[in-house]
Amino acid sequence: MSGIYVYSDNFGLSAALLSLAAQSGEEVCAITLDQDQADELVNYGADRLLVLKGDSPRPESYAKVIAELLKKENAELFLVGSTARGRELAAKTAGYLDCGMVSDAASLVFEVGKIVTTRLMYGGSVVQTEIINSLTVVTVPVGKFEAAKNESKKGVISSLEVKADQRVNIIETSPIKKEGIDLAAADKVVCIGMGLDKPEDIQIAQDLAQVLGAEIGCTRGIAEERHWLPVQSYIGISGANVKPSLYISMGVSGQVQHVVGIRDSRIIAAVDSNDKAPIFKAADYGIVGDLYEIIPLLTEALRNA
């Protein structure tokens, strides 16, 4: 068994997965559906880049083709970027191969003769560690691994004519208008929770965000129930993942489904009136107090700092 295959419909994720795969010392092959992407990916550590030339624009429709390819090539690992399309493609490929699959790996380490992965379960409370020693499909979310350019190594590009699954066809696509900001890229995040009483009170958070140069995020209820902020603003297992240098919350209790999305923050600070709120267990610095008193004082202190 040899060879690691990599696919993502997200360019940055493809590059990151190629750099990860290159650490294995195995032969690495990038699969793409278009020549341009292959041209751009040549310097990210792949030995080979295989352009699948088929008759569908949908990556998901190539699962069977890719499964057959992996089998023929005796592949040992198929790394797929965890996007909506990537996850479906990955799970179908694993289904066709009747092989194992690790979804949304939080870590992946190449050891001698085996691969060790971890992933989160039960909303982020539990870490499951698995050892892979036969062909397995692994999906990896955005932002876990960095892409590293390797100018000295240039992959060889080839192409393959294939037949896609024609049973699902796109009728139309319309871009989602991104309201607000890209929280995942924010260097500082001020997060509001249901402890805020009225929509006007968001101003308190905005003032703090302004002195910090932070973006505003929230918990699910603020976006999904109260509709005070767009859904892109909520952080957690079903929302955004953030990894700022500072995350500071007000009126956020810190349930695990939310905390999962802030774990990669460098420093977590929390203001909550309940000294037993779980957010304090997840925080580096906590202030037990009324956010309506504390936050304006904090904004003022930072302004003068």
């Binding site: 998901e60 699962a63 996007t83 909506a84 399309r85 996850r87 479906e88 990955a90 799970a91 179908k92 694993a94 289904g95 066709y96 009747d98 092989c99 194992g100 699959m101 979804s103 989160l120 379960m121 039960y122 909303g123 982020g124 409370s125 539990v126 870490v127 499951q128 560690t129 698995e130 050892i131 397995t136 049973r167 699902v168 066809n169 796109i170 009728i171 139309e172 696509t173 319309s174 989602i176 500082k188 500072l246 695990v256 905390v259 460098r266 420093i267 600070a269 304090f280 267990k281 925080a283 580096d284 610095y285 906590g286 202030i287 037990v288 004082l297 904090l298 202190a301 930072l302 700092a305």
Partner: protein
């Protein structure tokens, strides 16, 4: 009348999960529940069957504990509940679950639509819907926020990272729904009482031509432990609010944040 099959998983309620001092996880006291997102799949099946005149049914792969789920599932509107009863469900990975469910669906026959949630609330691995489709070699449409059946096709809206996509797929098809597709109502008393009278069918692995060895885990499980959050956990203890704030600012400075 064809079957519209909603698959669901009977899971341990994460709210009852206990962490032991050695960071091991104790699920022995956890109550079971139908995985939250699967309620959306069941509701979607019931709604679409009303429109097409087909029969909504549920399907679950679970151990003996899952027996109690049948009444709950049927109180949500489907006409019949199917249950593959096997202890191996407790350890089943995505490959095993989709293999068993696909085999059961074949055995049930005459299906046109299979509805799954994107993922279960315990593992959230998001493998089973597409895995069933691959094993039945039928199309799959995931991330669905809405769909409509017309004759032999289904038209599905999907929410992807940067766009909304509408696709048409040939039936039979597996559709994996996102929670925003609907708001499953809480079943009323009458629905709960009626559920007890609805037919259920228990299947065994042998009925599906499968054995425990077909369901062996594909990866080797090495650890299953509580996530450890390594944080400073400093509660700023100044006398007044102003003092606490001052301490926080000093700490943020020390950390090089400001």
């Amino acid at each position: 009348m064809a079957k519209i099959i909603a698959c669901y998983k009977w899971v341990a309620d994460e709210a009852d999960l206990r962490i032991n001092a050695d960071m091991s996880v104790d699920l022995s006291k956890a109550k079971g529940k139908i995985s939250d997102y699967d309620k959306n799949a069941i509701e979607a099946a019931v709604q679409v069957a009303k429109g097409t005149g087909d029969t909504a049914v549920t399907l679950t792969f679970g151990s003996g504990k899952a027996k109690q789920s049948l009444k709950d599932a049927l109180s949500r509107g489907p006409a019949e509940g199917f249950w593959i009863n096997s202890g191996s469900a407790e350890k089943a990975d995505g490959a095993a679950s989709s293999k068993v469910l696909a085999a059961a669906i074949k055995e049930m026959g005459d299906y046109k639509l299979i509805l799954c949630a994107e993922g279960a609330s315990d593992t959230f691995a998001r493998q089973v819907g597409p895995g069933i489709a691959a094993r039945l070699d039928i199309p799959c449409v995931s991330s669905a926020t809405g769909f409509e059946v017309n004759g032999n096709t289904v038209t599905v809206s999907r929410k992807l990272e940067d766009c909304v996509e509408v696709v048409a797929a040939d039936l039979p098809v597996v559709v994996c729904v996102l929670p925003e597709i609907n708001q499953p109502p809480i079943p009323g008393l009458k629905a709960v009482l009626d559920a007890g009278k609805k037919p259920t069918r228990e299947l065994r692995l042998e009925d599906l031509g499968l054995s425990e060895t077909d369901l062996a885990a594909k990866t080797e499980l090495q650890g299953f432990e509580a996530y450890v959050m390594n944080r400073k956990n400093v509660i700023l203890s100044g006398d007044s609010a102003a003092d606490k704030v001052k301490e926080l600012v000093a700490n943020l400075k020390k950390e090089g944040i400001i």
